[in-house]
Amino acid sequence: MSATHQDNDFLFKYIFSTDHKMIAKQFFLTGSIMGLIGMLMSTIFRLQLGYPGESFAFLEPILGSWAPDGVLTPDKYLALVTLHGTIMVFFLLTAGLSGTFSNLLIPLQLGARDMASGFMNMLSYWFFFLSSCVMIASIFVEGGPASGGWTIYPPLSALPEAIPGSGMGMTLWIISMALFIVSSLLGSLNYIVTVFNLRTKGMTMTRMPLTIWAFLITAVLGVLSFPVLFSAVLLLFFDRSFGTSFYLSDIYIAGQALEVDGGSPVLYEHLFWFLGHPEVYIILLPALGITSEVIATNSRKPIFGYRAMIGSILAIAFISFLVWGHHMFVTGMNPFLGAVFTFTTLLVAIPSAVKVFNYLTTLWKGNIKFTPAMLFAIGLVSTFITGGLTGIILGDSALDINVHDTYFVVGHFHIVMGLSGTFGMISGIYHWFPKMFGRMMDKNLGFLHFWTTIVAAYGVFFPMHFLGLAGVPRRYYANTEFPMFNEMYDINELITVFAIIAAVGQIFFIFNIFYSMFKGPKAPQNPWRSTTLEWTTPVEHLHGNWPGELPEVYRWAYDYSKVDENGDFVGGDDFTPQTVPLREGEEDLSH
């Protein structure tokens, strides 16, 4: 690869870069901008839920015909909910999270010059970029963007007569997701190949940091499940455009019976959730991997139960393919299947519990440095527990009957997937910002950011459990039409207030990123005193990552506070980098 001419050419250095570090930054910026848009959408529809029907004059100039007289219309409310879900799940927490950190860390932590295929990696980003553009463009087409919920169940998503968003907007949604899936597959295949083939000398599988294990298994999940989503939306496309009826049967709408027969929307649900459930772990695993790394580094202790952690990642990944039916207990699916899915679903709690207890034991008798990254990692452990436990209720088919599709579910998945995913991502940004941009982020803004975010986030999502237990369904434009929900207005108002605080609190973060990117103090070689390989590369990025020979690895990634027989630190410091050879008689924890 001719690296020299690329270095001098702006176009190839910043735009069509094949360097994994630049691509990571591209994913980070694009994903974060999408995430910001998704968050702003949620504050707009939260205003409607907190103050149903009240006029907000400032909305009219922003939203135009979506909010005549400052009141969001019902179908545009659904449009916002749909896009919020799509953007947060796919664009922020799948592409934004994996795209940023898999790209940045896989070559750096493995001791590779770059990804296996830099060109495929570049294509992966550009497909993602196109996909983002198409998704944003769909907001402006006639009828508005897709409005059938992020799960886009047909027939609602198949029939423009059913909701205006199922016209052009839905077509663009499908095109955008197709591009997204191409991007995801190109990226994932690259990650897998790189992990298996480009590890530096001495970097055995059991010496890899847990981040890499998490990214690897995430990529495998993506490769196995995204193609199924692709087939699902392809068939939906046929139903919409070519008059097939894979998902449609016996429909009468807009004054006439349609010529469709023999299809079943339940088929779509099966295909969708075959991706949809592993998708939860495509979001969670990288976040958990990052957390493992951040907690070990900042506790100055090895991660507890390294092998059990790998085992639980593998177990979670395997089980995640066998649980999709728990989204479908009340769809009319055979109750026997429901029983099978209850069984497999509750099994996920076992490896999850192992992970939680291993984190707790890692903290125990540690020597904890509360960097902003560490705070968010601790926040993740809290949200993972809180949201995970309510999953035991939802995964139990008998209990799911009455809380299915209520705010209980909204609270559950926002805490366990949304908050854990974002906390993991934010933690990673604080931790590896010096590696990405060569500069340090401000700690005080980081502290402010963490405490506003965690307080506001629980303020938003915890009360939702009470709404759900009161029977309030999700995706309701307003809770004003049922007398039984009249007394819920103040809960909704409280949630909205916290949602606005949470959104405003992100200003600390956004400012910190942009300020530090240009004006932050220069990063030292190894700011968090880590053992892993990425901190042996020069602070200034260069092609091929290491100026001379690739480093050789002699030990696992978690030799923190390791002492010799005299009680002194091995190597004289409370961390022993992976590049330090084992002393005679020293135990290698990776074997």
Partner: protein, 361 residues
């Protein structure tokens, strides 16, 4: 409240700006001390915030339980619902201590083991014994929950046998209203298909099928006799809807192209429930709980549970399909006329929905 919101936003904004300025100041003035290394003092502050947060978090939860605890659904109004509620309570009894225990450990460890340069972290990489313990215990507890949950699930989903003489009701969903159909004196539903929908026959009943002639259908509200099994059949006309009756712990999707089922035994009349909740206005509702379009949030039906006697009386007052169909042909009216005692209310609601749909478009 809006004012408060703006106030909060402004205050946070001011904090943000002032913070920014202070950083700009420190960065340029004090080059010696950097803005990223957490000092020992700051580390201690953050460590102290850990237990503070734990207390605030628990207090917030307790506050919610105290102030909103009575807003959750009242005691179940169906037979299986009581069993589900019991399972729910047992699950809470398992979950809540785990939640409290792990959270105390998390924030206690974080506080207790904050950085101290005179102390060494303990190199403790693994322990098979400990890991066995926290694999085996959750596995055991979950096994019990799974078995218990599944036995209930099987009972709940078991169809009602004909010996139990269930009342059969078809719930028909379309954008954006519900219709409940009773089979009439012959106890059999007439054939129906969306391809036979025409004019007043909006359910698409087959008028050549004798079994449909005595079928009765109602909108806006439907009645159930207390203590008798009800077998529901769900049908949808256009998109997926979901028949959600939270007070009865009942929910089943209505899917175009197929008939789904659910059954339960109502155990409390509307009047009894009004007494239990102390709410004179209390009513059972059927809600739509699957996103179905713009007026999804307003797709409802009232459910009246009453004595068998009252129920029979009410049912006998409803028109049969044949009468409705005949009437409409006599008047050669193309408009929907709704065969229902409280028809003015229904028509008003329909107008409301129509106007809403127009507004949306």
């Amino acid at each position: 409240m809006i004012d408060l919101l703006i106030l909060v936003a402004v205050v946070l904004g001011i904090i943000a700006v002032s913070k920014l300025i202070s950083i700009l100041g420190t960065v340029s003035a004090v080059k010696g001390e950097n803005s990223y290394n957490v000092t020992d003092k700051e580390n201690r502050t953050q460590a102290r915030l850990m237990p503070v947060f734990l207390i605030v978090y628990f207090a917030f939860i307790i506050w919610q339980v105290v102030s909103w605890g009575d807003r959750v659904l009242p005691v179940s109004a169906s037979e299986h619902g009581a069993i589900i509620d019991e399972l729910m309570n047992i699950t809470w009894i398992i979950i809540i201590p785990v939640f409290i225990f792990t959270h105390i450990l998390l924030f206690y460890f974080a506080w207790k083991y904050a950085y101290d340069k005179n102390r060494k972290a303990q190199f403790f990489a693994h322990s098979n014994k400990l890991e066995m313990v926290w694999t085996a215990i959750p596995a055991l507890v979950l096994l019990i929950l799974i078995l218990y949950g599944l036995s209930i699930w099987n009972d709940v989903m078991e169809p009602v046998s004909a010996d139990e003489e269930p009342i059969e009701i078809e719930l028909y969903a379309r954008q954006f209203d519900w219709t409940a159909r009773y089979p009439g004196i012959d106890g059999k539903f007439g054939e129906a298909s969306v391809r036979m929908i025409e004019g007043v026959n909006f359910l698409g009943l087959d008028s050549t099928d004798k079994e449909s002639w005595d079928d009765k259908y109602v909108k806006a509200e439907f009645h159930l006799p207390v203590n008798r099994p009800v077998q529901f059949y769900m049908r949808a006309q256009d998109v997926i809807h979901s028949a959600y009756m939270p007070h009865f712990r009942a929910q089943m999707n209505c899917v175009p192209g197929m008939i789904t089922r659910f059954n339960f035994i109502p155990t409390k009349t509307t009047a009894e429930m009004r007494e239990i909740t102390g709410d004179e206005e209390f009513n059972y509702y059927l809600l739509c709980n699957k996103i179905c379009g713009a007026a999804h949030y307003n797709m409802k039906m009232e459910i009246i549970v009453e004595s068998e006697e009252d129920f029979n009386k009410w049912l006998s007052e409803q028109n049969e399909f044949l009468a409705v169909e005949g009437n409409s042909k006599d008047n050669s009216s193309e408009e929907l006329s709704v065969p229902e005692s409280d028809s003015t209310q229904t028509i008003n609601e329909e107008e409301e929905q129509l106007s809403l749909v127009e507004k949306v478009n």
